[in-house]
């Protein structure tokens, strides 16, 4: 099950109100696009969902339970995974190790088991490695498995972020600008990948993006934020023609 409900969420930074009573839902199995002008509060909302920011008002529930009392490291356990706009990878580690790091919270060996290298934990380790290998296969990362992340082109790092997020088997995946720095072909590929994730892994996706081609193509529904408030919500077609959205965000070209 996966049902996210954002209810009148307020976040302030000093005098700046980054989120001003935002409400919307992300039902199971849907791909919801979240768009809006720069500084509208999209990443701030993601940071609330992964409990990095304190919420000053309203509530966020996942499967009916408020997540606001949970610590950040519990978010992967309850099934919420994410990628980061500014890429939060371990630069001095290889691609494989970065992906393995994403699997850590779900591994069952336990600290003592690991330290003593008990058979159970070794089996667990093998399982994690196999899973990482599969994910690298799936995201075309096998060729760079042993390369340091600092040396990879940007687009590859973005794929790596997705692979790492998938390591913890999330039910809800938050993607913050996954298409940044990708060319047309690569965006096409990404679009297919996002659909694939939903269909094969039964994922629910919340997608922040400025690449309208991608958002309009993959989203079932689109939510528009502007100055910390919800400006509009609807199907991609409705949003494309929404006069206020055109005015505030898309411009004539949109």
């Amino acid at each position: 099950m996966s049902h996210l409900c954002i209810d009148k969420v307020v976040v302030r930074f000093g005098g700046i109100v980054a989120l001003d009573g935002v409400s919307f839902e992300v039902p199971e199995g849907e791909i919801v696009g979240l768009i809006g002008p720069n500084g509208a509060g999209k990443t701030t909302l993601f940071n609330c969902l992964s409990r990095l920011y304190q919420v000053h008002g309203g509530d966020i529930t996942y499967n009916g339970r408020s997540i606001l009392s949970l610590p950040p490291h519990r978010m992967t356990e309850i099934g919420i995974g994410r990628t980061f706009q500014n890429l939060a990878l371990f630069h001095n580690m290889t691609v494989r190790d970065n992906i393995l790091a994403g699997g850590h919270p779900a591994s069952r060996g336990g600290f003592i088991g690991n330290a003593l290298r008990l058979p159970g934990s070794r089996r667990e380790e093998r399982r994690l490695h196999e899973k990482a290998d599969r994910l690298m296969e799936e995201l075309d990362l096998t060729a760079v498995a042993n390369e340091g992340v600092g040396e990879l082109p940007f687009g590859t790092r973005k794929r790596l972020e997705i692979a790492r997020a998938l390591m913890s088997d999330p039910k809800l995946l938050l993607l913050d600008e996954p298409a940044g720095g990708l060319n047309h072909d690569e965006v096409d590929e990404l679009a297919e990948r996002i659909h694939g994730l939903r269909d094969e892994r039964a994922l629910t996706v919340l997608l922040v993006e400025h690449h309208m081609g991608l958002v309009m193509r993959v989203s079932d529904r689109v939510v528009v934020l502007s100055f910390g408030r919800k400006l509009a919500e609807g199907t991609p077609d409705e949003i494309r023609q929404h006069p206020e959205v055109i005015e505030a965000y898309l411009g004539k070209a949109g």
């Binding site: 002008p37 720069n38 060319n183 047309h184």
Partner: protein, 237 residues
């Protein structure tokens, strides 16, 4: 027309990794040239090589003067501004301090103050956030800051590494309009790397296609736009 920038047999290395293997290209004075290429082709490395941020071999001349081997800061002082990949924000400093740093080598105090106001009028969002620590700006706000900071140098040559990165569609359109205007009115030459190939080819007069560290195609923007492979991979029609 004379060439502002001429690059001959340029190689670039990250330690032992050989990334550019002998590229040639040139940029007309007052012109805009764009470099297309897939993920990892070496576009960013090319821009870095031009302003001395990576080890290079080969010749780079700016306005007839050899600049290969010069230190990055000295090349910048010759009027080359760079909007780097990853934005290069001074995270602990304020938005305004970041902008002032763009003009830190300029001596015309009055002009700098004027340009600061001009940047604020181009990007009103930055004005609202002028006293904010730049590291806390949103991704797109930091991108605007990176572009504005580069413009504060009043460059002769502007190196743009994906200037539209993370910007909302409306702002992207505005940005390209601004770039076009600056090119026409102030005669600033530009070398543009941009994933949105349609916009890039619209703005530029010349284009190069880079594949794994080699130039595989070059010509006027119109010619490149008509090229089959470019159409399929970068334009999608």
């Amino acid at each position: 027309m004379t060439h502002l920038l001429e690059v001959n047999d340029l190689h670039a290395y990250y330690g032992p990794t050989h990334v550019l293997s002998g590229i040639h290209f040139s940029l007309n004075k007052g012109g805009i040239t764009t470099i297309l290429g897939a993920n990892g082709a070496g576009k960013t490395t090319t821009l870095r090589a031009l302003c001395g941020m990576v080890t290079t071999k080969g010749q780079i001349s700016l306005d007839g003067r050899r600049i290969d081997g010069s230190a990055c800061e000295e090349i910048v002082r010759m009027g080359v501004a760079h909007v780097p990949e990853g934005r290069g924000t001074f995270a602990a400093l304020t938005t305004e301090e970041n902008l002032k740093l763009g003009a830190v080598t300029r001596r015309d105090k009055h002009g700098v103050t004027q340009d600061l106001e001009h940047m604020y009028s181009l990007f009103p969002r930055l004005k609202e956030r002028r006293k904010q620590q730049a590291g806390t700006l949103s991704g797109g706000e930091q991108q605007m800051l990176a572009v504005a900071r580069a413009l504060m140098l009043r460059p002769n040559l502007l190196l743009l590494d994906e200037p539209s990165f993370g910007l909302a569609p409306l702002i992207v359109a505005e940005l390209f309009e601004i770039l076009g205007r600056i090119n026409r009115e102030d005669g600033v030459s530009m070398l543009l790397v941009e994933q949105n190939a349609e916009l890039a080819l619209d703005l530029a007069s010349h284009a190069y296609l880079l594949e794994t560290g080699k130039v595989v195609l070059s010509g006027s923007a119109e010619e490149i736009q008509e090229h089959d492979q470019v159409r399929r991979t970068y334009l999608g029609y």
